[in-house]
């Protein structure tokens, strides 16, 4: 320590935030303030953002502890739609489980699952209209599952096989489908957020009616692209929904490292004069209702909305990390917002439109359909076996027209 200090306040010290608990400790979510379901008000979509600042610090919830849908955000979906939503989440979970095993079997190099976060992307997708565009991260495959994108295509991408729609050029799960409103996943974090704003600006420039949705995780909100996105969205009142999926963990880094001194991630939107809502990300009904609100706001040319989904990444970040090395093993069981599949299942049983038997039967049907898709996908090859994209494909598509230097290199490679 320098001894020539003249400060009357003593030496400075650096604050490095730490999560409440590390491995070996008792999980503690007492710092997560969870309001009663149904207790958060529902403003009109054209509300002045200045008058709804409190929504950035609360949590909008619909399903209560008894599985009932309560409060002003309830009543958006029919029973049939809810059953469909449950099936989407179950499908995503089953798909993940099978692909996770396939990775362990060496059929692909890498996988990322959604365990615990299924409601976020599955419910959001149901609030969009045809032609709208998502700029997703790597943990929103529910947008594809709920949007009817064929599972076989997804698996062929994961396996980088001869039917891979991306010709083996991308890491597993970095899907891309313009037709299904799913922008090419980068893998570089946060870049898509400002691109979503640009896409939405283009829609407004062309006097179109389509809107965009940007997606980002809690950790990546620290990137400058996040801030660029909020500036551009705010300045040009772009028709975009800016989603922040706060699943508490960025690989091993707890959300406090990215959040800093702000109370919530949603509060980031307030400085930009945007409505910012916080929602229970494990509550399918709440996610849908808030998504619908924000999407309608964008579609009515009222500008952007920031939505923070409070959820929990129950699994590992990817197949490359072991969460027990950085957080208590029992932490996911202690997560106070529960499991999205169980909560919607219980709600539907409570409404008399679902039952344990039907659930078990649906699980079997879904597993069957996933296995069928997997068999078909595997018939076109897996990463190290069977059909795969040609080495020639490697040189295609760098430019629309192959320039001379790439033609020479392809020739040199002998493919």
């Amino acid at each position: 320590m320098p001894d020539d200090s003249t400060s009357e306040f003593g030496p400075l010290s650096l604050h490095v935030p730490e999560p409440a608990v590390r491995p070996g400790g008792e999980p503690d979510f007492s710092n997560v303030n969870i309001p009663e379901a149904g207790s958060v008000r529902r403003p009109p979509v054209d509300a002045n953002p200045e008058e709804i600042r409190d929504l950035a610090f609360s949590i909008i919830r619909v399903l209560n502890r008894d599985g009932e849908a309560v409060g002003p955000w309830a009543g958006e979906l029919t029973d049939d739609q809810l059953v469909e939503g449950l099936r989407h989440m179950m499908t995503l979970r089953t798909f993940d489980a099978r692909m996770q095993i396939a990775q362990r079997q060496g059929k692909t190099s890498f996988y990322m699952q959604h365990l615990g976060e299924e409601a976020v992307s599955c419910a959001f997708r149901m609030a969009l209209s045809p032609g709208d565009m998502n700029f997703p991260t790597y943990r929103q495959a529910g947008l594809l599952i709920a949007g009817g994108y064929p599972m076989v295509e997804m698996m062929c991408q994961i396996y980088s096989n001869e039917r891979d729609p991306l010709k083996g050029r991308q890491l597993p799960i970095m899907y891309s489908s313009k037709e299904h409103g799913f922008f090419s996943i980068s893998g570089n974090l946060a870049t898509q957020y400002i691109q979503a704003v640009g896409w939405a600006m283009a829609s407004a420039i062309k006097k179109d009616t389509k809107i965009a949705a940007g997606w980002i995780g809690d950790g990546s909100t620290a990137e400058s692209d996040f801030h660029a996105a909020l500036v551009f969205a705010s300045t040009y009142k772009a028709p975009v929904v800016l989603n922040i999926v706060n699943n508490q963990w960025a690989i091993s880094t707890f959300q406090g490292i990215a959040r800093g001194g702000a109370g919530t991630f949603a509060a980031r939107g307030l400085g930009f004069g945007m409505p910012a809502l916080r929602v229970d990300g494990n509550d399918y009904l709440a996610v849908f209702a808030v998504a619908k609100w924000a999407i309608e706001r964008a579609r009515r040319n009222l500008g952007p909305t920031v939505v923070e989904y409070v959820t929990y990444r129950a699994g590992a970040h990817s197949t490359s990390d072991d969460p027990s090395a950085y957080r208590p093993k029992t932490e996911s069981d202690a997560w106070p917002l529960g499991d999205p599949v169980m909560r919607l299942k219980n709600h539907l049983i409570g409404r008399g439109v679902w039952s344990e038997e039907r659930h078990t039967q649906a699980e079997a049907e879904i597993l069957d359909s996933v296995i069928t898709a997997q068999k078909e996908a595997e018939s076109f090859g897996t990463l190290h076996a069977g059909g795969k994209p040609s080495a020639r494909d490697m040189f295609e598509g760098v430019y629309e027209e192959m320039p001379p230097h790439l033609r020479r290199q392809r020739q040199q490679a002998g493919v």
Binding site: M174, I194, M201, D225, E400, P404
Partner: protein, 337 residues
């Protein structure tokens, strides 16, 4: 034929394309109401309205990121980075996103954007208004990199760039905006109105990407140059009396290797001139290609005359800048070699 400055020619290219194609939009810092700090976009907002030409926040990453999103929608953004020295916050969006979008999505999404930026020194701009970062872009698969050297080419190349289906980095040598500067900073500069390459046809025309042009026929050695250095090389040839063949590359990526090889095969000697720093500069790529393709015709080592490997200095600008004296010395050494 009307003569224009390079600024007017660049503006004309955007004007022509905005007129022809509603999907062309122009934005960047100060480009809207004011028309850009170098006036390249002057009048475009008044003519095409605020939604097609507008001011952007001071966020280069935001400008390029938004442009990529717009391009994915179907627009053709032509954005300005106020100085090439300011492009680094956008580097990730350019390298990891614009350049690779077509490839990684197998053509599902593309980024046909043009990123214009004034580059190069000679205006006492110090280290933050003088850089030539072309090699940072020629190293990136999926980009095209263009450096015009005169108003005629600037307009034709910019129209080609806007029409191109892939992302183009368009580096404008700012010392050439008003005239063909030959490195003699102590002499008055000829304005473009007195130079034949200041002749800019009205309306739509293109100069193709990937095609170099011979600016001076010669027998003794080949000079590979682009941007401002074309005129420095011309001055060096005049002053040394050496019969140099000067090739203006115009597009660095993709490169017109054929024209280069044909010339060096003929002259047997090659001098590469660029303003950017030496180490891992674009000259290194050119030298490697020349030795690979012309090895048995070479009579002397390939020479490089470039900026020094220092940040671009302020007071020592003319010690840094590879002027006609340094280029002329390299000519003589190459002839002796």
């Amino acid at each position: 034929m009307p003569r224009k400055t390079m600024i007017e020619a660049i503006r004309d290219a955007m004007d022509v394309m905005m007129e022809r194609d509603d999907n062309v939009v122009v934005f960047g810092e100060d480009v809207g109401f004011f028309g850009g700090v170098f006036r390249c976009t002057h009048g475009l907002q008044a003519k095409y309205g605020k939604t097609r030409c507008f001011d952007a926040p001071i966020s280069e990453g935001g400008i390029v990121g938004a442009a990529i999103g717009m391009a994915a929608y179907g627009l053709k953004p032509c954005v300005e980075i106020q100085f090439a020295d300011y492009v680094y916050p956008a580097y990730d969006q350019i390298v990891s996103e614009a350049a690779r979008l077509r490839y990684r999505s197998n053509g599902g999404f593309t980024a046909p954007i043009v990123i214009r930026m004034p580059a190069g020194g000679g205006i006492f701009g110090g280290q933050t208004h003088s850089q030539s970062p072309e090699a940072l872009f020629t190293h990136v698969s999926g980009l095209k990199v263009v450096v015009p050297s005169n108003p005629h080419d600037a307009k034709g190349l910019l129209i080609s760039s806007i029409e191109d289906p892939d992302p183009v980095i368009f580096l404008e040598p700012k010392r050439l905006y008003n005239g063909p500067f030959d490195g003699h900073h102590d002499r008055p500069v000829t304005p473009w109105s007195k130079h034949e390459l200041g002749e800019v046809p009205d309306g739509h025309y293109t100069v193709p990407l990937g095609k170099a042009i011979k600016r001076r026929e010669g027998k003794q050695l080949t000079v590979l140059a682009y941007g401002t250095m074309v005129y420095v090389a011309e001055a060096a040839a005049e002053e040394t009396g050496i019969d140099a063949e000067i090739i203006d590359l115009r597009t660095l990526l993709p490169l017109d290797l054929e024209t280069i090889v044909e010339s060096v095969t003929k002259t047997g000697r090659c001098v590469i001139v660029h303003e950017a720093t030496l180490t891992s500069g674009f000259g290194a790529e050119l030298a490697a290609l020349v030795q690979q393709h012309c090895f048995y015709n070479l009579e002397a080592p390939v020479a490089r005359v470039t900026g020094w490997d220092t940040p671009y200095p302020h007071a020592q600008e003319w010690d840094y800048f590879p002027g006609p004296a340094r280029v002329g010395r390299a000519f003589l050494e190459t002839l002796e070699g």
